[in-house]
């Protein structure tokens, strides 16, 4: 367990989900495929109400100069976006009817 100051004040509820604080899309996508719906639902239910507060908090900083706790918070919100389709739409980790199709993100702006 990482220490409590890993995330900015007010976002402590996300501490149990720090494994989702992943800096790249391939890592986030792989974790989504390896997770159960119950795990993603629990993460979503905690993170979604904190999305708007997170945007408000993060916008006080320049994107290029985010302190470590804010960076972790941003990565968590990127993972929230990643699980939003399974939770809000598909009710399953994979895109339905996507079979063996894949699409690798090979260039992305990293924060």
């Amino acid at each position: 367990m990482l220490p409590a100051e890993t995330l900015p004040a007010g976002f402590g509820a996300l501490e149990p989900y720090l494994a989702w604080a992943l800096p790249t899309e391939p890592e986030r996508y792989a974790r989504r495929l390896a997770s159960t719906m119950a795990e993603m639902q629990a993460f979503y239910d905690t993170a979604f109400p904190l999305l708007e507060p997170a945007l408000t908090h993060l916008d006080k900083f320049g994107l290029a100069e985010l302190p470590e706790p804010e960076r972790a918070l941003l990565h968590l919100m990127q993972s929230l976006i990643m699980v939003s389709f399974p939770v809000e739409v598909w009710k399953q980790p994979r895109v339905p009817d996507s079979g063996a199709a894949y699409l690798d993100l090979v260039v992305e702006p990293r924060i």
């Binding site: 945007l55 919100m77 389709f85 895109v95 894949y102 699409l103 690798d104 924060i111």
Partner: protein, 420 residues
């Protein structure tokens, strides 16, 4: 009754009588001999887009481009004079591939002062001149001036780099009126890039087909919208605002009411908070050049306009979205039934986390849709190869597909006739 006006002839297709309205034969997507003919007639002598100038920001910046369909690998490099040049990626000594990393068949990129062959250390400067030969005295009458890298025609349009192994006309002439109509769009300010790649088990034309019509959208992607919205879309079906053909190139202009939606309850919760979705971030970036669009974009000047898709023949598509960003597709054939698909999303660099996450949602949403689009193709390829059915009726909203296959057929025939 159509929701949007069609040409006086009654349909977009009949506005171009040379297209005909008969079912289209798809043997052109399964026959290996035909694929070889396409390589010779098209990919070895047509202007091909290999990327953006932002990939070559300074002197010595380079990337390689594997052009299986044209049967070569190219080096793209920015020289000391600022000019971008293309060379065949082959050392003049004994044919070693000049620029690669670890895996000779994978593309690579970087910055260098010169190119040094891994094999015997022959060196070439950024303009392709041979500048150093290891143990030069061992050779017979070798004049370095005769052994520069083999250059390939290379030109730039609006920041897009094109190459052509055997040009018969300039890039500007080839791109013609359609491209002229887009000039001035602020592509150069949209430098925040997300690139996706997949190898797809289908003929290259089949994936262009999939993205050159939106007739499929209300059906294949029905589950992506909330239920009532999906039902409404299915009831409407799809109709383009405008279609236009320009020589080998073509475009479709489409409506798109989702950015922002009229009724926020019609979109998913995450879209409401982030103000973004498939059509991109709802709030346009604060840059010049988005208010008065070039005449070729939203040519019908329709209020409900959402997106224009331009097919720049043969294998490059450019999609310009109303909220102020663009998308490119490339389809690089590797066999009659395989191609490498690349998609890049280009946004104005975000200043805040809010803007960054709105773009993130657009990218994630794009991938969800593209996975559905891509997965139907391999099965289509297999069934076409069965030859159980060879001719397929294309409707008026599929005019760009009819055009793509006709242009290809005509070029292959013209090339074969000339060889006779």
């Amino acid at each position: 009754m159509p929701h949007f006006a069609k040409p006086a002839e009654g349909s977009w297709t009949e506005h171009y009588p040379e297209l005909g309205t008969a079912p289209v034969n798809y043997s052109d997507s399964i026959d290996p001999a035909y694929y070889e003919a396409e390589r010779a007639a098209i990919f070895k002598r047509t202007w091909l887009n290999v990327g953006r100038v932002e990939r070559l920001p300074r002197t010595g910046s380079y990337f390689t481009s594997e052009l299986a369909a044209a049967g070569t690998s190219l080096i793209l490099v920015r020289g000391k004079d600022g000019q971008i040049r293309a060379f065949h990626n082959i050392c003049r000594h004994r044919g070693n591939k000049l620029v690669w990393n670890d895996y000779p068949n994978e593309e690579t990129a970087g910055t260098c002062r010169q190119f040094t062959c891994k094999y015997h250390a022959w060196r070439y400067d950024l303009s392709g001149k041979l500048t150093f030969v290891q143990q030069e005295g061992e050779f017979f009458d070798l004049d370095k001036a005769d052994y520069g890298l083999k250059e390939v025609a290379c030109d730039v349009w609006e920041g897009f780099i094109f190459v052509n192994l055997n040009p018969r006309e300039t890039l500007a002439t080839y791109l013609g009126e359609m491209a002229k109509g887009i000039e001035g769009y602020p592509f150069g300010q949209m430098t925040e890039v997300y690139t996706y790649r997949a190898e797809v088990g289908s003929n290259w034309k089949l994936f262009i087909d999939a993205f050159a019509e939106f007739y499929h959208a209300p059906v294949l992607h029905a589950k992506q919208a909330v239920r009532e919205e999906a039902d409404k879309l299915l009831g409407f079906g799809f109709e383009g605002l405008h279609y236009e053909l320009f020589g080998p190139h073509s475009m479709i202009s489409s409506w798109g009411g989702m950015a922002p939606p009229k009724d926020p309850s019609m979109v998913k919760p995450i879209e409401r908070v982030l103000r973004s979705g498939l059509f991109g971030p709802w709030d346009r970036p604060a840059i010049e050049g988005l208010d008065a669009l070039p005449p070729g974009i939203n040519p019908a000047r329709h209020r409900a306009w959402g997106i224009d898709s331009f097919v720049i023949y043969p294998n490059f598509m450019l999609l310009i979205w109303a909220p102020g960003w663009y998308l490119t597709y490339h389809y690089w054939p590797t066999a009659v039934n395989r191609h490498l698909f690349e998609a890049s999303l280009y946004f104005v660099p975000p200043k805040t986390a809010r803007e960054r996450l709105a773009q993130e949602l657009a990218g994630v949403t794009f991938k969800e849709y593209a996975l559905q689009d891509g997965n139907t193709l391999e099965a289509t390829q297999t069934m076409l190869a069965s030859r159980a059915v060879t001719e397929f009726p294309l409707n008026d909203q599929e005019i760009l597909l009819r055009h793509l296959h006709k242009v290809t057929r005509d070029l292959v025939k013209e090339h074969a006739d000339a060889a006779r």
